[in-house]
């Protein structure tokens, strides 16, 4: 992720690593920043799933713990 310009930034943890994001970031902008499509992608925020239909309106807050999950071979 690119370091946002200016001082207005928040720090979230994505898959255990810290990321600095612009204030106003949402789950949707985070997912887009990683270049991911909705199909095959899941997001949990602070231990609870965020439904794909809620990504655009779910604002990220400083200190959020995000799990960004993708389809993988298994089973």
């Amino acid at each position: 992720m690119n370091e946002p310009a200016g001082s207005a930034a928040l720090t979230v943890t994505v898959n255990g690593r810290h990321h600095r994001l612009p204030v106003g970031s949402t789950v949707a902008s985070l997912v887009a920043g990683f270049g991911l499509r909705a199909r095959g992608t899941a997001v949990a925020r602070n231990g609870e799933v965020v439904p794909a239909g809620m990504w655009a309106e779910t604002a990220l807050a400083d200190g959020d713990r995000i799990e960004l999950l993708r389809a993988a071979p298994g089973g």
């Binding site: 991911l36 899941a42 231990g47 799933v49 389809a71 071979p73 298994g74």
Partner: protein, 264 residues
């Protein structure tokens, strides 16, 4: 032969479900799915890793199979519940192969956490296919609380030890009304055939195919074995008996009299 397999409200021709774990490439996944004739294929959710090749879901979508997300690796009801809810969003299906592991070495299910997770997921509207021990009582609980299928282990995941307790499997089949899918432990084709002969409605195979020296050929072998076992189950095998039972009629046997050469 018209013998559809009904699972969680859908009908399938194939009774062989396939896993995609431990595969060497997406090309191998595609070739094994085709060779197996599988219509239900499992997939997992993992943290985004740019170093891992993506595209397994695109492939399964293109093949038109039912995607069956799993909760592999979860050790608590809570982790399995959240993972299943994530999978529902990622894959657009309310089907889940529920795995709640109780032990790292055996990867056998934790019955307490498993039942807890199954209850929460059924209440949340999931079609729960529960990976379970080969315990008829536990399988009965899972079916009674609303699981769409029970998936007893023949032996530990990836062990290739086959079906360690065929009598338990037969009891499970007698006691639950939902589909019974043998999951885990299959080593080779005869194990899959035995599962079907014991009355299992289907078999899920992963490692036995993906780790075989020739995965595509083993996928074809599993397909033939599942079909053969199912046919044999429907045909009804003969009972086992300690002594022989002649297959040629004993009446009408020729009588030749004494051997005259004996007097010479």
């Amino acid at each position: 032969m018209d013998d559809p397999f009904e699972l969680a409200g859908r009908r399938f021709r194939s009774r062989l479900l396939l896993g995609t774990g431990a595969t060497s490439s997406l090309e191998t996944v595609e070739a094994t799915v085709r060779a197996a004739g599988a219509e239900v294929v499992t997939v997992a959710l993992r943290r985004l890793d740019p170093d891992l090749p993506g595209g397994v879901l695109d492939l399964l979508d293109r093949l038109g199979v039912q995607v069956l997300p799993n909760t592999a690796g979860c050790m608590t009801a809570r982790d399995a519940f959240v993972t299943a809810r994530c999978a529902r969003e990622a894959f657009g299906t309310d089907w889940v192969k529920l795995e709640v592991i109780g032990d790292d070495r055996t990867l056998l299910p934790d019955p307490v956490e498993l039942v807890g997770a199954a209850e929460r997921l059924v209440d949340d509207g999931f079609r729960v296919l529960a990976y379970t021990n080969d315990d008829p009582v536990l399988a009965g609980h899972l079916a009674a609380l609303g699981c769409a299928a029970v998936m007893p282990a023949g032996s530990p995941i990836g062990s290739g030890m086959g079906i360690r307790n065929p009598y338990n499997l037969a009891i499970i089949r007698e006691q639950v009304s939902v589909p019974v899918i043998l999951d885990a432990g299959i080593g080779t084709a005869s194990d899959a055939a035995l599962a079907m002969e014991l009355g299992c409605d289907a078999v899920l195979v992963a490692s036995a195919v993906t780790r075989a020296q020739d995965p595509v050929r083993m996928a074809a072998a599993m397909r033939a074995a599942v079909e053969a076992g199912r046919l044999a189950r429907l045909a009804g095998r003969i009972p086992r008996r300690r002594y022989a039972q002649a297959s040629t009629p004993v009446s009408g046997l020729a009588v030749f009299g004494p051997d005259l050469d004996d007097d010479a």
